[in-house]
């Protein structure tokens, strides 16, 4: 057990104040402002990060609960020079307008594609077992925890679908 947390591969000491959410820790203490605070109540998904390979709302967890964990934020997924496949697809499909929800959308979608690869079912899945299909309906259900107030949903789904089909 360590008192440190790995953020995008770099070790950091945990904050002293136990009230610090993982979101505030990443944004305020570490200056990684890619992760966004939307509602701060787990309703909008703008704060989605990937912890030990699993996507969660960073606003609804305390930083001190994550000693030894490995966190990936949008800054850890790609850079302007070397964007990830999903980042490229969001640009190609215009999967955003204001861009505020985008880091959360992309972190969420990155982990979601792994969930589909694991054949984890969703509420939209016909069958609970077997191989999961990447239909528009599946993507919409699996991404329902990420809101886009601009309503760029159609292009977000198209971007995710593109990457899913390429990697399938």
């Amino acid at each position: 057990m360590s008192d440190t947390i790995s953020i995008n591969g770099t070790q950091h000491s945990l904050p002293d104040d136990p009230r610090r959410s993982l979101l505030d820790f990443v944004r305020q203490d570490l200056g990684l402002t890619g992760t966004k605070k939307g509602c701060d109540h787990g309703q909008c998904g703008a704060c989605t990060v990937i912890v030990n390979g699993i996507r969660i709302n960073s606003c609804l967890t305390l930083a001190v609960m994550h000693d030894g964990d490995e966190v990936t934020t949008i800054e850890g997924l790609g850079t302007p020079e070397a964007p990830s496949e999903l980042q490229k697809a969001f640009v190609a499909h215009d999967g955003f307008q204001c861009g505020y929800c985008t880091p959360g959308q992309i972190c969420s979608a990155t982990a979601m594609l792994q969930e589909i690869a694991n054949n984890w079912p969703s509420d939209a899945s016909e069958s609970l077992e077997g191989e999961m299909n990447v239909t528009g309906e599946e993507i919409r259900e699996r991404m329902s925890g990420n809101l886009c107030r601009c309503g760029a949903y159609a292009n977000i789904v198209a971007a995710i679908r593109d990457v899913a089909e390429e990697s399938a």
Partner: protein
Amino acid sequence: MRPFSYTKARVIEDARQITADESAMAIAGGTNLLDLMKLQVETPHKLADINRIGFDEIKKTADGGLSIGALATNTATAVHPRVRSDYPVLARAILSGATQQLRNKATNGGNLCQRTRCFYFTNIDQPCNKREPGSGCGAIDGIAKLHAVLGASDQCIATYPGDMAVALSALDAQVHIATAGGSERTVPVRDFHCLPGDTPWRDNVLEDGEIITAITLPAPVGGTQIYRKVRERSSYAFALVSIAAIVEMKDGLFSRADLAFGGLAHKPWHDLRIAEALIGQPPTAQTFDKAADILLEIARGYGENDFKIPLARRTLHAVLEHAAEEAA
């Protein structure tokens, strides 16, 4: 958020010791508790982090059932091969709730203990007998769309918001609890949540210092299993009415009909008389109506939620009709 002291429990004894204090709370996934702490609906002085004390396994029980750790996540439970194959009603109920991000963090024990989403409970400027005993109930004669039509009291008409527990109720699951004194007790999930009565602050039977360790499911029950959830959005919304159903047919008649209902009361609703009325009967509108009459015998609306009474009747019709077709 109000200040609190934070302790990482290493073993369950640590957690029991800390939470025996009534101003202390255990935190697991935290998706509901931290939300409520930000709103100052919950103001614990101490938090015991129980995420590293174990109790997260999903394993076979001696009688062929399944033990689901209290600290296993909702996701780990819903995607577990045995849950998917043998208890699909449970997998479906879990997958119908919240979002993937929340289910990835939320634990099974925490899911059972989640608090109501009543608007008056979550707003500290409003009266609420559950949050502040004696302050009144704002929902009675107020905004009551999500509220109870069964088993409410003149002090509280809140509903239990979860989906998982509705499926667990249909499955007659058992809740295993480590007591403050260090022993164990088991409570059927059907008796775990309380009706509000004149103690609306009491959601369930847990005492200070008690911690849920596991939920056990009976040996696979087979049958046609359905979880039908009616809500205002097609994803990420609480149930207005939900039904967990485990149905079997024999020679065109119901031979099994274990049903539990969500969104209607302060607890997942289960009434043995419904199964009794269905068994041996054909799947006709008349049979469905008889079951609905029993379910809704004591139903009472509070204005905005009056629609739940006919909605529950129609949803029950739809579920029984669908189940009978599938099971035939």
